[in-house]
Amino acid sequence: MTDTNTSMAPAGEPKRFGSLLEQSDRTKRRNAKEKRFRLYGVAAIAVGLIFLTALVVTIILNGIPAFTQTHMTLQIELPADKLDKKGERNLADIKKVSTFGYNPLIDAALVRAVTEAGVETDITKGKDLRDMLSSGAGAQLRNAVLENPDLIGTTHAFTLLTSSRVDGYMKGRVTRVSLARDKNLTPEHLNIVDGLVDTGAIRRSFSWNFITGTDASESRPEQAGMGVAMLGSFFMMLVVLVLSLPIGVAASIYLEEFAPQNTFTDFIEVNISNLAAVPSIVFGILGLAVFIQFAHLPQSAPIVGGLTLTLMTLPTIVISTRASLKSVPPSIRDAALGVGASKMQSVLHHVLPLAMPGILTGTIIGLAQALGETAPLLLIGMVGYIATNYPDGIASGFLDPNSAMPAQIYEWAKRADPAFYERAWGGIIILLVFLVTMNAIAVMLRRRFERRW
């Protein structure tokens, strides 16, 4: 013992600690390191957030115009001799006039409106004027008449969607120069548009239809909306949430807390991490084979999408849940077992609540990923021209053919008319709002469970 004493403080050795008020060289170096490290952290978050900002700004700049739409108000005469030749106001008879049959009425109204507005123009044929309107105008008229046959024989004011080119002109996307070689509209039309804007017949306003509407065919971008696809995503996410969270958590609990350590559980464990690496398109192949071809669930249905995405989301939830179960200190389990709690009780009462933040994180990320996933939907037929009929009830919400938001966005982004491109970005805004709302709930829950011990 005595020899250690001498070696402890050899005489003449410089004192290790100087004044606390000034930092030693080593401390300075270490603190510089510390500061750098901290800076890396700030930088890392900044990079992430800058990237996010860049993305969001791009999305918003591109997408905001989709939320407004240009309309034209026209006084349209609905002559009885054309719409109901027998004059009995019998619906079956009125139905005989197809949407194309309404076009001449619109043409006539357009000619009148242009003349009234006093615009000088070379375009005199009503059919050419009609290029300014959406090709869905005829259908809108027909539906109005079928709903209210009394309109026949009167002149009524209709607010009709203008075509995507006119809308683009109002939004600054389309210019006279760019129309020079366009075959849908000519610069001449724009003079008329200007004139009608002056008279107030053409107006641009907020478009609920974009948020609540159905998909439209490629020839009518102005009519397309996100509403039905939104319902599709909603029902799909409902399935994913209701299945993947409990199954994922249950599987993790079993693996982490109950499963004996053997090759079989290793097999399950490896399996689950491997499933995370399976490309989402392969889950599409699986969904097609199992849910549609084997189980005979309907094609393109949100329930199939939900089931497929559930399988895809499970690994994410399981991996994060297991990681956070693992991080609960063993003494907590001991404490519970020591007072005679069963294993199940110790897990459910103590370990699980403590692991909750990680579980919710996994859920947030897993659901977010599922919400934004397109590839598997390609294979189970949820992409294309699908989101056109509103589901009429809860059951049909799950079972009727529908699309989903990312698939709808994907679809729009591919379409030829640039107006769809704008709607694709607009759709992304809606998707993000959906996502943020969904996350907000989970984030709030997570904050309630966070603690350090």
Partner: protein
Amino acid sequence: MKDNIISEMDVTTDKIKISARDVQVYYGDNHAIKDVSVEIQDKTVTAFIGPSGCGKSTFLRCINRMNDTIDICRVEGDILIDGEDIYDSNVDPVQLRAKVGMVFQKPNPFPKSIYDNVAYGPRIHGLARNKSELDDIVERALKRAAIWNEVKDRLHAPGTGLSGGQQQRLCIARAIATEPEVLLMDEPCSALDPIATAQVEELIDELRQDYSVVIVTHSMQQAARVSQKTAFFHLGNLVEYGETDKIFTSPEDPRTESYITGRIG
């Protein structure tokens, strides 16, 4: 304040409560308990003493099968409580642990409120018919663990925000709230001041009236004061086991003797 030297009450019976035969414990390759056989009587306080690392905690944890939770730990041999082999496959470790309570060496309160820490056991065992009964149980347990005065105003503050000694007493309160028949206490007074220690010792003595208590301690004095039987462990072996008086006055084994006489604690 009560008398410091607690009067020995004559409540010991000869009934065997716990009987261990040829117990071996391994942590992986490390043979931590070697061939230990011991019979622990009912309504008795038994003290385990021995140098640090000799296997006291390990053996204690065998008695309520807490070692099941350590992956690498392997237990061999038989341990019988009330004549029933607790390592029998029919035995439900949960029921066992409800009957054999435990206070751990390192205080481990749940990250919950003080009240919930104590109420947890009674809740899962259904010991209270209603809220006020539960309140009573909690209060009594905290009082018996000599911590009631310190926490009565902050029952709903987190148990992890207590001082070291308070946490230790909280864990004692938590263990006795479920009223086990056997109570295993691993150094229950290590972080306690003399007065609190005395109170806990008083509690132990009181518990002895009905239950069987096994206590690990490093303080010879404490062993002498509270226990009727003492077991001395050394390097995983049970070196000597017998009446406390006898162990401390005339130990048979030289190892016991040298450990006892080296006393300073």
